[in-house]
């Protein structure tokens, strides 16, 4: 194998590692052998071959594909044709969407980025690939390309075209629009990949591979996750809960091999002449702790608390009792809304907003009032077997943090924890009362699913 290819494989591996995919040296060697066996002629085969040797789980594929596109690009430079007119390109795109021709879509994505994606010194419209934008404050933008091309507006046209072609084709006609929408989505992703590649050519692959690739779902920051990412996250609730449940059960089983029951050991030793041959262990009664969750569901942290509520609810058979309370500036119990079977994760936030009384005079969160109201109205929910979790960013909007209320709650509970989705460096900045609360209750940074999983398995009482 030439050193060029070997070097490219190793930089690909390095970039995957930077994104949290664990790849060992053995796998790199296998990857190189795969490249040798497959050759460089067919890019898609190479992609599958490298994926098979380097990856270990299906989610890692989401990181792998964009990184692969950067290191093994479809081509170099522009597509080599002159700049296409917007209308002409849209016509060809409509035809390609109607035929669902993936290779043609990929080529059109290349032309589209070339024609409409350039920004910076070359100005709007851009030029053909050869001249391109000059170095400096410029590059290629998929957003701009899609904004100018507006592929979504082709929907009606493609639909009518297909209908005319196939005649009104009975039942499956109603599926047509969704199918076209999915094809347009494919095209958008192709444009994004193409823009990334063009930028990578200018700024060096390593930098783009580092910055422009979305992380795996468990590393997405709760506070900056977009709609689609949140939906992705919610889908990971059940597998994560299953994993945590096995871990908790295992811990419980291990814990039961603990202290020696002296009385029964001595009683048993009588049959062996007073020599304790078999130590008898104390039987543990399975303790099922109670759990109370106080969740801030105001807009700023909603994704985080939704997710955590669902997770705890999915773990419900690990606990004797789980009660969930939601607040913005008033508090209300939402345990019933999370009940099993009725929970469709997507609409949870909306349902909580609609069915629980969470806001009083205004719509911004007020920890002081909410904690005070909880201590007053639901004080009896917290007892000596209860562990309390507070979920929120501790941003009080400048109102009184009401520390005595929190002190009363934690004083009565067995343990209390606060999970804060903000990075630790931002605690105490602006209106954050995090440091004040952190003196009364153990506060942990919990920014993504990975951290949450680790915290839950460590903090949950067993």
């Amino acid at each position: 194998m030439t050193t060029g290819v070997a070097e490219r494989v190793t930089s690909l591996v390095a970039s995957l590692r930077a994104h949290g995919v664990r790849v060992g040296t053995g796998e790199s060697v296998d990857a190189a052998r795969a490249v040798e066996a497959l050759g460089l002629a067919d890019r898609e085969l190479l992609r599958e071959g490298l994926a098979a040797t380097l990856l270990h789980t299906a989610d890692q594929r989401r990181v792998f594909d964009p990184v692969f596109d950067v290191y093994f690009p479809r081509g170099v430079g522009g597509p080599g044709t002159g700049p296409a007119g917007r209308e002409e390109l849209r016509d060809r795109l409509a035809a390609a969407l109607a035929d669902d021709d993936r290779t043609l879509l990929a080529r059109l994505a290349g032309e589209a980025v070339d024609g409409f994606g350039a920004y910076g010194s070359s100005g709007a419209g851009g030029g053909p690939g050869a001249s391109g934008p000059s170095p400096g404050s410029d590059g290629w933008s998929s957003h701009q390309t899609l904004d100018r091309l507006r592929p979504q507006t082709l929907l009606a046209r493609v639909r009518d075209d297909l209908r005319a072609r196939g005649g009104a084709a009975g039942f499956t006609d109603r599926l047509l629009e969704d199918e076209i929408r999915r094809r347009i989505e494919v095209f958008r992703r192709l444009v994004a990949a193409e823009a990334r590649r063009r930028v990578a050519e200018r700024r060096g692959r390593d930098e783009i591979a580092r910055r422009a690739v979305a992380p795996t779902p468990d590393r997405v920051d709760f506070l900056v996750a977009g709609q689609a990412q949140l939906a992705d996250l919610r889908r990971t609730v059940r597998p994560l809960a299953r994993k945590l449940a096995t871990r908790l059960t295992a811990r419980r089983r291990r814990a039961s091999r603990g202290s020696i029951d002296l009385r029964r050991t001595l009683r048993g030793s009588l049959s062996t002449g007073g020599v304790p041959m078999k130590p008898v262990l104390r039987r543990r009664r399975p303790v099922r702790p109670e759990l109370v969750l106080l969740c801030d569901v105001s807009g700023s942290v909603a994704g985080f608390s939704d997710f955590t509520m669902l997770l705890v609810q999915a773990l419900h058979d690990q606990f004797a009792k789980v009660r969930v309370f939601a607040f913005v500036n008033r508090i209300d119990e939402v345990t019933g809304l999370l009940a099993h079977g009725t929970a469709d994760p997507e609409g949870l936030g909306a349902r909580i907003g609609a069915e629980a009384r969470l806001t009083g005079w205004h719509g911004s969160s007020d920890y002081g009032v909410a904690l005070g109201e909880f201590a007053e109205r639901y004080g009896d929910a917290v007892g000596p077997r209860t562990t309390v979790f507070v979920l929120g960013d501790a941003r009080t909007n400048m109102s009184d943090p009401n520390l005595p209320a929190l002190r009363r709650i934690t004083g009565r509970a067995r343990r209390g924890y606060w999970l804060n989705p903000e990075p630790r460096s931002r605690w105490g900045t602006g209106d954050s009362a995090a440091p004040a609360y952190a003196e009364l209750i153990e506060m942990h940074e919990c920014r993504n699913v990975r951290q949450l999983g680790a915290l839950v398995s460590r903090l949950l009482p067993v």
């Binding site: 795969a34 066996a37 084709a169 039942f171 999915r182």
Partner: protein, 285 residues
């Protein structure tokens, strides 16, 4: 074993397994690099079938280890035939201890289980370790020696090393995370739901008598169902079942009543049926 990726797809297709490019490439690499192949994916996309197809293509014997909770060394690797050993001892009552001892731990009294079977002998074999995730974690440890060095240690006999490496396929439904150590020893392949074009070809191959346009619309409806949020999305096996059902009903076009009446073939939960009916604008009764 195979000369190229195209060779893999062509030969698999001859035995009735239509492989996507990803599947063909990974099978080719597994054969070329001599590494086990770990296949994950939803139920009913042909994970087990892949191993069987490879065995048919390469004219190899399929050795199958079905994993379940509690499968152990004596089920997976080997076991001594105690009853026969006892018989042997009582038959040779007059011989000395030394003679008896060396005798009863010989090949004759060994009951090879799938893993040992796959390693011994000179004929070509495909070892299928099915539903690996159902087995306990301890069994994974057992697999490590077999999968990395293709050898098994029997204390009384010594180490048995494969003279001819079997082609190994492990399948998993991801009901439990497999350990990192096991994953690292394998090539990883995720088989998802096939593209529309491929699925149409699969239906045509499995149910050749079905009308072609009907097969096309069937596959499109299944594609739409998969895009919905359902508890159990239909898999390829269900598509084929549905195609068979429609053939048995003698249908020639897909219409509302037909879809409504046969939706139970593809969807296995009542909530799913209701939800899909609402999304597809079927007027339910």
């Amino acid at each position: 074993m195979f000369t190229s990726v195209d060779d893999v797809s062509a030969r698999l297709a001859e035995t009735g397994y239509l492989a996507s490019p990803a599947v063909a490439t990974t099978v080719f690499l597994a054969a070329r690099l001599g590494k086990p192949l770990l296949v994950e994916g939803p139920a009913g996309v042909g994970k087990t079938e892949l191993a069987k197809a490879v065995a048919r293509v390469t004219d190899a014997r399929l050795v199958r280890l079905q994993c379940y909770e509690g499968v152990d060394e004596s089920r997976a690797l080997y076991e001594w035939n105690h009853a026969k050993q006892l018989l042997r001892i009582s038959a040779g009552r007059d011989e000395s201890w030394d003679e008896a001892r060396t005798d009863i731990f010989g090949e004759e009294f060994l009951l090879p289980r799938p893993l040992l079977t796959a390693i011994r002998g000179d004929d070509a074999k495909v070892l299928l370790i099915d539903e690996t995730d159902k087995a306990d974690v301890e069994v994974e440890g057992l697999l490590l020696e077999v999968l990395s060095d293709f050898q098994v240690t029997v204390p009384e006999l010594g180490t048995v090393t494969a003279t001819r490496r079997p082609f190994v396929v492990l399948t998993s439904n991801a009901s439990r995370e497999l350990s990192e150590a096991l994953r690292r020893r394998c090539l990883f392949l995720h088989i998802g739901f096939p593209e529309e074009e491929l699925e149409r070809r699969i239906v045509r191959l499995k149910v050749p008598d079905l009308d072609e346009t009907l097969a096309g619309s069937l596959v499109r409806v299944v594609g739409a169902l998969r895009a919905m949020e359902l508890r159990k999305v239909p898999s390829v096996a269900e598509t084929v079942d549905w195609a068979r059902t429609l053939l048995a009903l003698g249908a020639d076009t897909l219409d509302e009543a037909l879809v409504r009446d046969t939706l139970g073939v593809v969807l296995k939960h009542q909530d799913d049926v209701l939800r899909a009916a609402a999304k597809l604008d079927l007027d339910t009764l």
